[in-house]
């Protein structure tokens, strides 16, 4: 962004507070990284709106600072959602609630995890506001809500303990009972009063998704080898139509909470309900092929969906037999005669009975047709070559055979027909007519690579391995090394302060690792001193005729940790992404992690260097020097780390070779190259995906020959470990995948210590 562009953005923001100019550029930089073109427009429009309410600079600042992250995480519609809510608040007597409201947004979006949820959250607050804002003379609302500011203070705590549904119920109770008692209302909403806490307890039930996310990720990965990510939605708020789970290109949508369910056999826990749902969905993802919807009537479609559900479940049960009991316990068991076919449509009822009869061989049903179709279903299933298509034929035949006039009746028999661990099956249909136009948004604003040659040292040339011909392409890559530009060292100190607690914990481990000047080595046959304890024991053995231990000496040795470390950071463009579930970019998290690691290594006294790399074709691999072996962990180095930026591609092999060039010049017993990356090697001038992977692997082998141990810390949650994934191809066994990237700052130093401890 140049000065003109900045000015253009500044002009688009209608706002004239003094403090604004000091922060505007930083906010814009972040927004440009995270938002689309339209998003930027909405962002500036939203900020202008927040400015217009005339509540001082603070709301604008909070909006500018927090919203890019929120929008990146939950989607850009949140930009206007939040600014509009602020506007609405300002039109009421509740202007004082605006700053605390904005303060809750970042935390709430972290906790709620989807746009829909955030929208509901805002709606709940607005309802609360409307109902508690006082009125004099009947219509002019002029007295601000007493409880709203208190409520906003409690939001982080409440959302950590309640589903959105529970949150709403808790608020409803307070509003209903204390609408006209300002003081008691306040007491309720700041969690002071006894009933407030009691209701909280009552609403705090069920298994919250957010507390079990990792368990569920592990479940999908280990039992289904499916690394898809999960997005929660609010269950139970939409009273009319219960939302159903589903999955699409953006992930698997699951309810934010599941209560345990009780049946005659005891309890199905919330976590098992989640697993049943994920098993069902994973089974679809593995075995369902989408079919064309246009030729089927609505009845035929729901029949096909039901039988396809049964089919994939049967296959899943073959893999994991325990699923059968779980499904049976969660599946409704309609009474065979419950549906009055004279008055209501029985189609759902029939299908649910069929579905249950397929699942449970001990079902109570007697209907001949049902029994016949269970039989036919099992026949189809037993032939492994049959799929969605064959099941569709069976479903159509079932619909034809059981058709009734009354199926058309508007009143549908719903009792006991909702199978709530199943998804809505949107994934199994293709529609020809509407034509599925994928939204193609091009990211035009992505910066064009600058043309100028990077100044500094002349390039170094490195070979690249071509696995097709099994030869090196000599001097193929030009690598430019430069000093990383400097930023503000204090930023890094701030990050270190933020992790002071963690640092304290690490220090404890570090002290154990730290080389003691001298250590005693006991049980030596030859040594510098007699080890009296052992000598006496040996003498006794000898005197009593037993074989004495001859290792009666001890010696001292200098316990040098003689290690040289090079940390190589992938600085490619993808680092600017904010991973799902995080509020910081990978780059920021890396900065924190590297700062902590550097602090730790400095403490240990190991030789240590840091460099970053990125590439823009083979003619321009950039290698940025951040810390050299001879430099201390000082403000100069911190300043460079603080200025780290993401851009361009990942030509890993050349960067590793260059890093090795420095590392091998070090005198040390052990040499460790740590590569921190978030994806596979790639570059814009290479189309064969394997090429740079194979080259990087070759580089690892070369380094190994030179006695350098290479280890990768991978931040790509989509890697399925196995022989085929790129991490294994490049690094063999020497890697760790960090699933929860926001834990990187904690993980990286610990990993280093366990590697070298």
């Amino acid at each position: 962004m140049n000065a003109d562009e900045l000015q253009a953005y500044r002009d688009a923001l209608k706002c004239n507070f003094k403090g604004l100019d000091a922060v505007f550029e930083d906010c814009m930089n972040e927004a440009l990284l995270l938002l689309s073109e339209q998003g930027i427009k909405d962002y500036l429009k939203g900020a202008s709106l927040v400015c217009m309410i005339g509540r001082g600079f603070e709301p604008v600042l909070v909006y500018l600072e927090k919203m890019p992250q929120v929008a990146k995480q939950l989607g850009e519609p949140t930009l206007s959602l939040v600014s509009q809510a602020v506007w609405d608040l300002s039109r009421s007597p509740n202007g004082n609630a605006i700053p605390p409201f904005l303060q809750t947004i970042a935390e709430a979006s972290r906790r709620l995890g989807s746009e829909e949820q955030l929208r509901l959250y805002v709606k709940i607050l607005m309802d609360m506001m409307e109902r508690t804002t006082g009125s004099i003379h009947g219509f002019h609302t002029t007295i601000p809500s007493p409880g709203l500011p208190e409520l906003l203070q409690q939001v982080p705590y409440l959302l950590n303990n309640l589903s959105l549904h529970g949150f709403k119920n808790w608020i409803d109770y307070g509003v209903r009972n204390y609408q006209n008692h300002p003081e008691r209302q306040k007491n309720y909403f700041c969690l002071q009063s006894a009933d407030s806490r009691a209701i909280l307890q009552r609403e705090r039930h069920g298994t919250l998704f957010i507390d079990n996310e990792r368990k569920l990720d592990l479940y999908l990965r280990s039992l289904w080898q499916d690394p898809e990510h999960l997005v929660p939605y609010s269950s139970g708020l939409d009273e009319l139509r219960k939302p159903m789970p589903y999955y699409d290109a953006y992930g698997i949508r699951v309810p934010d909470v599941y209560d345990d369910v009780n049946d005659a056999n005891g309890n199905v826990t919330g976590i098992d309900r989640y697993r049943a749902l994920l098993a069902h969905i994973a089974a679809h993802r593995r075995w369902t092929t989408a079919i064309i919807a246009d030729n089927f009537s609505p009845f035929q479609r729901i029949a096909i969906e039901t039988l396809e559900d049964s089919r994939v479940e049967s296959l899943a049960i073959q893999e994991y037999p325990g699923l059968r009991q779980l499904f049976i316990r969660l599946h409704p068991k309609p009474d065979e005669n419950a549906c009055k076919s004279a008055e209501e449509s029985c189609i759902r009822h029939r299908l649910t009975i069929l579905s249950y009869a397929i699942l449970d061989a001990h079902h109570p049903y007697k209907n001949e047709v049902i029994l016949e179709y269970v039989e036919r279903f099992n026949e189809i299933i037993s032939d492994k070559t049959n799929g969605t298509k064959e099941i569709a034929d069976l479903a159509i035949s079932f619909v034809a055979k059981t058709r009734r006039q009354s199926d058309q009746l508007p009143k549908v028999h719903f009792t006991d027909t909702e199978i709530d661990y199943r998804d809505d099956n949107r994934h199994m249909w293709r529609f020809i007519e509407e034509g599925d136009e994928e939204e193609m948004f091009e990211e035009k604003r992505k910066l064009e690579p600058e043309e100028h040659e990077p100044e500094g040292l002349p390039p170094r040339h490195y070979p690249e391995w071509d696995y097709n011909t099994k030869t090196y392409r000599p001097d193929w890559v030009s690598l430019y090394e430069s000093l990383h530009p400097a930023g503000n060292a204090a930023d890094i100190d701030k990050l270190l302060d933020k992790h002071a607690g963690l640092a304290k914990q690490l220090k404890h481990i570090l002290d154990l690792l730290k080389p003691q000047q001298y250590v005693r080595v006991r049980y030596q046959e030859e040594g510098s001193e007699l080890d009296l304890d052992v000598a006496i024991r040996s003498l006794i053995d000898f005197k009593s005729g037993a074989q004495p231990d001859p290792r009666i000496n001890m010696s001292h040795k200098h316990d040098g940790r003689n290690i040289a470390v090079m940390l190589l950071l992938d600085l490619s463009a993808s680092l600017a992404d904010t991973p799902d579930g995080c509020t910081q970019t990978i780059l920021e998290l890396s900065q924190e992690a590297v700062a902590l690691l550097s602090w730790a290594i400095d403490h240990l006294g190991d030789k240590f260097a840091i460099a970053g790399f990125s590439s823009n074709t083979r003619h321009e691999v950039r290698y940025q020097h951040i810390k050299g072996y001879s430099e201390q962990w000082c403000d100069t180095v911190k300043a460079r780390l603080a200025a780290m930026e993401a851009g361009y591609s990942t030509r890993m092999g050349a960067a590793m070779r260059h890093a090795a060039h420095y590392l091998s010049a070090q005198k040390a017993d052990k040499k460790l190259l740590l590569v921190l990356t978030d994806g596979e090697p790639s570059d814009i001038d290479v189309t064969d995906q394997q090429l740079l992977i194979q080259d990087a692997h070759k580089a690892v082998q070369e380094l190994d020959q030179d006695g350098i141990y290479t280890y990768c810390i991978n931040l790509d949650a989509n890697v399925k470990p196995g022989e085929d994934d790129y991490v294994t191809r490049i690094f063999g066994n020497h890697y760790t995948i960090i699933d929860k990237i926001d834990r990187l700052p904690e993980k990286l130093p610990k990993l280093f210590m366990s590697l070298t401890g």
Partner: protein
């Protein structure tokens, strides 16, 4: 050296070993040329068993040394012992193997300190000699002698990596957990458990191996599967046996435990 009882190192009964691919052919060729061999692979995947099997097949004595951190060069080579009449030399296992022409198997070599491992160097090049410095003797290895080491590359520690100068002296063979079918039949033959249960055990192992790198350094080994099978044969409930033999040993991470426990329940339902 007539006072060595070679007989004790011979393997009398065929150790059961399920061939996975061409490892027998490769190993035989290496033995024929008396090349040192490094067997790489995760814990409990059958490395030791393979060597026992090959020693039996080749009708050679086998001397196995389980390496550990406290081991010194003397523990391998030998030392003087005191006795009533003064001192007496006692050969270490490596020396014995070199004298009698045994296959010497140094199990988990990385566990030993690096200054210990260097004593094997002169035995691994064309000289095939072992100097006993303290005794002032230079042993020429018996023509049948061969050195085999095992090495687990999954160890994620720089400190426990082999020196490049050591690695460069060995040919290497990669071992891994067998394919599901083979692994099930191993568990079955090894323990006498029924086929259906063996298949289920292997399935559980697979779910754990999917988590490698996501909180688990190594999955569940074939060895652990045989433990679970034996517990089941002894009347322990399969789900308890699996928890005890397959899950508790490998992780303390509560989320992973819960996931694997669930896998066990749903597979053994």
């Amino acid at each position: 050296m007539t006072d060595i009882n070679i007989e004790q190192y011979n393997i009398k009964q065929e150790p059961y070993y399920e061939i996975q691919s061409n490892e027998v052919v490769l190993y035989k060729a290496a033995y024929k040329a008396r090349m040192p061999v490094m067997i790489k692979g995760p814990t409990g995947c059958g490395k030791s068993r393979f060597i026992e099997h090959m020693a039996w097949k080749l009708k050679k004595p086998l001397i196995t040394v389980a390496c550990n951190e406290d081991m010194t060069a003397s523990d391998l080579v030998g030392r003087y012992l005191l006795d009533a009449n003064g001192t007496r030399w006692l050969d270490g296992p490596l020396t014995t193997a070199a004298r009698i022409g045994a296959i010497c198997y140094l199990d988990e070599i990385v566990e030993a300190r690096q200054d210990t491992t260097v004593v094997i160097h002169p035995l691994t090049d064309h000289r095939r000699q072992l100097p006993l410095d303290k005794k002032g003797e230079l042993i020429n290895a018996h023509p049948d002698f061969q050195l085999v080491i095992s090495y687990n590359p999954g160890y994620q520690s720089l400190m426990k990596d082999l020196k490049q100068s050591t690695k460069q002296r060995f040919t290497a063979m990669d071992f891994d957990y067998p394919s599901a079918k083979v692994e099930a039949s191993i568990v079955e033959k090894e323990t006498g458990i029924d086929t259906a249960t063996a298949i289920k055990l292997v399935k559980i192992a697979e779910t754990a191996r999917n988590l490698k790198g996501h909180g688990l350094d190594e999955g569940i080994s074939t060895r652990l599967l045989t433990y679970a099978a034996r517990l089941i044969i002894n009347g322990i409930d399969p789900t308890d046996a699996c928890r005890m033999a397959l899950v508790r040993p490998i992780t303390d991470d509560v989320d992973i435990r819960s996931t694997l426990d669930h896998a066990i329940d749903t597979i053994f339902a």
